[in-house]
Symmetry: C2
Subunit: 449 residues, 2 copies
């Protein structure tokens, strides 16, 4: 029987390979990876640059050798798939030894995403980086360790931009962050953005909001500054982190359907429009649990669990890949910042909801317990169905996992009134009697009536 | 119109009074409280003894004056209700000025619970205390501050016993804890108990497990030791914390039905068997969300939210008091210890389930992120319905609010397979890609098939 073939050896691909192989140790699983790393911790890269993660190798979760020798997976590095023939069930890969064509029984596309490279003047200058591979992380890390830069620039105030601001600041350089929109972390909502901006300014970050970067300027091919209109901000390193785009071209060229988001369209089992072809992870859409519609939210858990589910499905046990809620958490210096579901009222209206939102300030501990810190929480509900639609929160502690309660409410189509009566954990060191989530649901419930 | 009358001015009673009064500012609300404190933070008492909460007054959440003057509630201290005539809609209270009889339109019993006083020899010695009122907390606090005791004894290894061990240890005395059962914190399950015991021993607590205390011995009316069989352990202070019992006698004498647990039986709106009489908080049963059966789990949130709901119901807006999941969290020195639902397999079988449980060790952060700590997690599922039945966890961080995700699963009758696909928050400083809750659900799901 032809092998299972997997294109891309990171979270989705290796999860699928490992799961399939556990179910069918006798079947062949071939993983074609264009680079030299597999199964690496992309989310850990900012902490490597920061110096919090000391060893580069700590970012490698499982080595190629382990997959090949311990798990009997036919992992082939430096194999870049350049064409798929879905009728013939064939993939063609360029390798150091020339082209190779393989016939697949079932195929999984786990081609991931890449950092968007905007058409800025000077993108090719030495010192301008994106952060979307271990190699780029290593390059930025070594620059920070080796050089005595006085200033760095970050273009983009998404979660990578925020995490990298913290990473750079640890190296005692001036950090300029440029964001085109009026706020950083737009998907977290304005309340959270403003708290984060205030905190980052306290930490000495130079925020340039509502500021479109025009490009970079240099000297002898080496970056010297970020250009904004008539002004130049002097920096010795620039990190461009304006988002990612799915690596969907290979699928597109093979006639596999892409969704409106530009990522590969998939059904609830991760199947694409082509027979026996699956897609998962940062190259694929997933279904949003609140809207029921396809969405593109490329995050690590989504890739891991979809990969694993597809491995199981390919092994004969049909397993849905699971819906996403857009749950995310970010450390922004001393703040924990989290979101889930739909927070933006316009987005909620577009999805057919009649949104109502409230913002409250609660506490991370009983008011009398030492060290209690404010938690600011926005929650959105639907006036018609009374369902919880989403929430965002920010605070110095107790935020990162508190958001999960709301995520659970989204997955179970819980109403705001039901959420208010969840029996959540209370003890003075960890929560007020009414957890901030409950208090917010209570206030929101009052506005939904 | 006759007033709303509330017996007991703590969490349930004052929540109801405040809520009703907000809805009907023109109606009279009379609260009869036998003591001199209302709305106090009983859960904070161990931290006051410890010295973490410095001011006694910090434990008072709202003063009697605020209730009376700001909220226009007719709060009467030192009024102990001694009889209820449910036919005549009358209560009789003993007051410093003699007996008073009041006619009620609707009545709420929020009489709370009291510490169980076992029939030990020597319970009346000076130096033997329970902890179930602000006065007792103050007495114990003052003894610890003022005396130079060399050893103290705690009888009972429930959450109060554990919290008090931490509180006493802060005062640099030898702490002996006596528990009749083989383990402390029995409702959290053996896995958690053993981790807590190991940790408490590391902290220097002298644990006497499987040890039935016979009583206390003293000299001139003053405690000198705890008697266990032929042995005496010398202590200068003993705290008896073997649980609480509902103050249900008043209701019982009035012919109001008690449940099998000995607490006042109530329906989903907090109504008792007597017309226009409600009960809430530590004196009343509540319905368990997993079993659907009455349960007695006297905790602060249950009292607060039932009180508030009943205030709303009495005001004409029928509001269920909400089910409980038995969710609890305890700080045990440097550990966070949490539970929800049904953990004990025998208890699950009694409730008609076919339980399966697994225990795994996860991590509080990504494995490569500095400071990652193990989280030990037990989860129980039902083989028939595949529902999640409960969970317990213990670790140095990230436990207290992680349990809430499982509590949410219980309230929504989520299956183990559904829980595995919740989109929970991930970032390296706060969680592995697969949160320990998801990993446990994954492993448990495998065993349920």
């Amino acid at each position: 029987m032809d092998p299972i073939v997997i294109v891309g050896g990171d979270a989705a691909g290796m999860s699928a390979a490992a799961k399939f192989k556990r179910e069918h140790p006798d079947r062949d699983v071939v993983v074609l990876e264009k680079g030299e790393y597999v199964s690496y911790a992309a989310c850990g890269m900012p902490y490597y640059v920061k110096g919090a993660v000391e060893e580069f190798d700590d970012l490698i979760q499982v080595t190629p050798e382990e997959f090949i020798e311990d798990r009997d997976i036919d992992l082939r590095l430096h194999h870049e798939v350049v064409a798929i023939d879905t009728d013939a069930h064939e993939v063609t890969a360029e390798t150091p030894d020339g082209e190779v064509t393989l016939t697949y029984d079932q195929l999984l596309l786990g081609t991931g995403a890449r950092a968007i490279e905007p058409p800025f003047e000077g993108m090719d200058l030495d010192g301008v980086h994106t952060l979307h591979s271990l190699d780029s992380a290593k390059a930025v890390h070594d620059l920070m360790e080796g050089n005595s830069l006085s200033a760095v620039g970050i273009v983009g105030g998404g979660y990578v931009g925020i995490e990298m601001a913290e990473a750079f600041a640890e190296h005692d350089v001036d950090v300029h962050l440029f964001e085109m929109l009026p706020h950083v972390l737009a998907p977290f909502g304005e309340m959270v953005s403003e708290k984060v901006e205030e905190h980052m300014r306290e930490k000495g970050i130079d925020l340039h909001l509502d500021t479109a970067v025009d490009g970079f300027t240099g000297d002898s091919g080496r970056l010297t500054g970020v250009v904004v209109g008539d002004e130049t901000v002097d920096v010795g390193l620039a990190l461009v982190a304006v988002g990612v785009t799915p690596n969907a071209e290979l699928a597109d060229e093979a006639g596999i359907e892409l969704g409106e988001t530009g990522a590969i369209a998939t059904d609830e089992h991760g199947r694409t429009s082509a027979e026996d072809v699956f897609a998962a992870g940062d190259c694929a859409e997933a279904r949003h649990v609140v809207t029921g519609e396809p969405a593109y939210v490329p995050l690590a858990l989504t890739a891991n669990r979809a990969g694993r589910a597809i491995g199981q499905t390919m092994a004969g046990d049909e397993t849905p890949v699971g819906d996403i809620a857009g749950t995310a958490v970010v450390k922004a210096f001393d703040l924990e910042v989290a979101r889930t579901g739909i927070i933006d009222e316009a987005e909620a209206r577009d999805a057919g909801f009649d949104p109502v939102s409230v913002t409250i300030t609660g506490s991370s501990r009983a008011h009398y317990y030492p060290g209690a810190k404010p938690i600011h929480l926005t929650m959105v509900g639907d006036r018609d169905s009374k369902r919880v639609l989403g929430a965002a929160m920010v605070g110095r502690e107790g935020v990162s996992k508190r958001i999960d309660t709301v995520a659970a409410a989204l997955h179970t189509e819980t109403t705001v009134g039901e959420l208010e009566y969840f029996d959540l954990a209370y003890a003075p060191p960890f929560s007020p009697t009414w957890d901030p989530v409950l208090t917010t649901a209570k206030v929101l419930g009052g506005k939904l009536d």
